[in-house]
């Protein structure tokens, strides 16, 4: 059976958007796919050495369930529909949302982003960072993880993406 190829273009840098590229890439690699992920624009945040800064914003995410990850069952069932005007005007709201999201993730036995990224690298998923975006945002190679990242442009990525069986834009 010929080896299948998965190409992912990761363009977002928030905690919730960090999961799809890493989960899909690591799972595909576990299933024997040759996998490459091209990180561009905000996706570059996912290649930073310290992933502790990834945040999640509830603003503009009307579908996001806002349930508390602690307390008695009936309390955890409440969906707190906080209006956007409160979200934008209360300082520290994003930090609160991020810490609640992280608690919910840990509580459900879901891997953390650093763990998933490590698993990807262990499974030999190739990471490519968009050099143009690195220059655009004034990043240095030293801001990112030093191993397992190649720097290139869209043309470099198309070499692999053109042959891929699945190509996803995230």
């Amino acid at each position: 059976m010929e080896q299948k190829k998965l190409a992912i273009i990761a363009t977002k840098g928030t905690l919730d958007w960090a999961y799809p590229p890493f989960i899909l890439a690591s799972t595909a690699a576990a299933l024997g796919y040759e996998t490459q992920v091209f990180f561009t624009f905000y996706g570059l945040q996912l290649l930073k050495k310290d992933l502790g800064d990834l945040q999640v914003s509830p603003i503009g995410n009307p579908g996001m369930p806002m349930k508390m990850p602690f307390g008695p069952d009936w309390f955890q069932d409440i969906n707190w529909n906080i209006p956007n005007i409160v979200q934008t005007n209360v300082p520290g709201f994003e930090a609160l949302a991020t810490s609640l999201m992280k608690k919910t993730i840990a509580k459900n036995g879901v891997a953390t982003i650093p763990e998933l990224r490590d698993l990807c690298q262990e499974a030999e998923v190739q990471f490519i960072a968009c050099q143009m975006t690195v220059d655009l945002f004034g990043f240095e190679h030293s801001d990112f993880i030093s191993e397992g990242v190649e720097y290139g442009g869209a043309a470099t990525f198309f070499e692999f993406a053109g042959e891929s069986d699945i190509c996803l834009y995230i």
Partner: protein, 76 residues
């Protein structure tokens, strides 16, 4: 319950961790050996079937016991 050479307890872990841990464990095993995987993630039932199909490793048995899922995967 089948015989097994190695055991992996993936209880409490959700997708994709059971599969990823299993792949890592199988990587360190010789061909012909059996890995016993315990999981609580209900999604893992279908996941391990797909894993066996895609990687060619043999899923000898898939059972539910005492609220946990047990899989016996033979490395090919």
């Amino acid at each position: 319950m089948a015989d097994f050479d190695d055991e992996l307890d993936a209880s409490g872990l959700n997708c994709p961790l059971p599969i990823l841990r299993a792949k890592k464990a199988l990587g360190g095993m010789d061909a012909g050996k059996v890995l016993h995987i315990i999981a609580t993630d209900p999604g893992s039932v279908k996941d391990f079937e797909a894993f066996a199909k895609q990687t060619g490793n043999e899923l000898l048995e898939s059972a539910e016991e005492g609220g946990k899922f047990h899989f016996y995967m033979k490395k090919v």
